[in-house]
Amino acid sequence: MRSLRWAAVACALVACAVTGTPPVRAESVVTAEARALHRAVPDVTISVAGGEQVKLSSLWHDKPVLITLFYQRCLGSCSPFLRSLSSTIKTVGGLGDDYRVVSVSFDPEDTPERTHELATQLGLGPGESWKVGTTSPAQLQPLMDSVGFWYRAIPGTDQVDHPSLVAMVRDGRVVRVLLGNTVSPTRFQELRLEARGTFVPFYAAPDASTRFRCLDVDPATGQLRLGWGLVVLLLPAALALALSLAVFRLARPRPAPAE
């Protein structure tokens, strides 16, 4: 009776595994950041205050370009995000020879002058290395798609929901994306290295819910600690040794009994 019960439980578990919906796990930031990698960025034209028209290809032909998207009326993350980016750029050495920055508004109501006003308020610059402006609605969507940007209206308000991201573009292709409302200097340095063509690996470190991790990363120091996963890795060899010794011990040839 007991074995029947166990069999029923086992069958139910198998049926659950076979037919059930797989448990959904939240997408990690790293996965989202990796989605746009290597995508080609369209050569859109940016309208800057003062009537200047700048094609992206004219910017990335000699230097990588860092692209961000924002809108002037944003009451949420846009201004703090751009301020954070500006501050981080200054912290790691300021805009120099390495790259340019282009901030494009995704609001059709924004004008080059309005975006310039915001840039001045936030102290973004200098102007030659940091272009702030708008683009046409027809060019905007392909640009957003290429860097993995999106937005949707928040009902009952004049605001929109959107991510905050910076995308490093080299030779017209996305080489790295950073997501988040603030830009940390450490991660920004990785972005700069990628801009120079140095491969910087990035990956989701297994979190506490992952069982038997081989390594644990201390987020504060970046130091690695050995985890229980390495013990699991030793298990097959240890079992092989133990089982072999057991087999040879149990089946060992016995001396013939004395006459």
Partner: protein, 475 residues
Amino acid sequence: MKHAQRNTLGWIAVTVVLFLVLLLVGMFLRAVQANQLDAAQGWFYPMMTLHGVGMAGLWWVGAMACASRVLARYVEPSEKVSSFAMLGTVAGVVLLLVSVFLGRFAAGWYFLYPLPLKGTWPRWSTVVFLASLTVLAVTWLVWVLDLLRAIAKKFPLTRALGWHYITGAEGPEVPPVVLITTVSLIAAIACLVSGAATVVFFVLELFTGTGSDPLLMKNLTFLFGHLLVNLSLYLAVGVIYDVLPTYTGRPWKANRVVAVAWNVVLWVVLFAYFHHLYMDFAQPPAFQYLGQVASYVSSIPSAVVTVFGAVALVYRAPVRWNLTVALFFLGLMGWGIGGIGAVIDSTIAVNSVLHNTLWVPAHFHTYMIEGLVLMVLGYFYHYCQEEAPIEEDLRLHKIATCLIVVGGYGFLAMFYLSGALGVPRRFAIYPANVAHGATLSKVALGFITLFLGGLLVYARELGRRWNKARQAIHA
């Protein structure tokens, strides 16, 4: 005795028939890559999975069957366990076929985490695939333990491993096949346990949704996969140590050099798989260096000792070059050539360039199709000819051998050339910048057809003897 003969003939039939089927599947893959089967492109990855898992498993059981039969000259493996192994293997293969043909499971032969859980195939096909692996791993583990038990009944562990040759102590003469098989079987336990552990982690995630550590999963998967293929080769090499002397009239005995070389294999082969993780930057660097050293040390001493021994054995010996001797000798050569390709590929600086190209399939196909496969086929022919002697037509043997060599190496050359030209592996269709991959696939198809021709001649020669041996059992 009849039980043993029936089992061996059963293994021979299963291995040869499945080989022909899986070879055709392999030809299908190259035909898709050559743009010859556009309508069937959707089947490329399920068939790649079947071809890979099928071939790796098939030649493992083929080598085990040979080793088990040769060991029976010295010890007593259980024939019931051998029958159980065949039943379990067939059950595992049926489950695999269901997951691939009905469920279109297509995670590749390495089924790397988390792909089996993320594919476009239905969830049940992943479950059936994992069930297939479980059945195979458990069955083979029982088989391995039984062979070890049989050896242990006659030889203490230190003797079976030939340590008395190393220390110079007094001890019984240990046939090299016993030494090499003991080494391989002990490592096989680690191999099969790691395969089972991988399945357990997959199943836990299926049931609970709690993720596994990708680094741990990849390590476990390659500890299983790399070892399985390596150990299949070693088992077949052990068989050659025992059978080749019957054709040369000279003994091939264990000695200190042989014992050292194969004991080194036991301690080092467990770490050689690290070379599969060179691309994994999360793997601690010390493991990467260890992987390179272990790859060299686990393959070079044993290969050098064996090839040197084989050459010395046939040098100026009155050898009758029938299918067995020719295939054994060519098999050892293929092992050596594939091994050199593998050693090159396991060098970190080279691997970073070649890892994702067709160079990798090139080297493992070399030591499989022109190494392990020839060794096992050579033994199968030897066994059937011993059981049911029929006058040999050496002209026919030469034709079969030539077709197998020319067809096989021509096929492999296209892989090597593609790899050197940067053609990526695992691509069903080649994009315009590597379109030459399709042309080389087409040429490869021609060569593999020659190989198939040689195999059919071999199958005819083997089949006549197999049939006669089968009739003798029933008489």
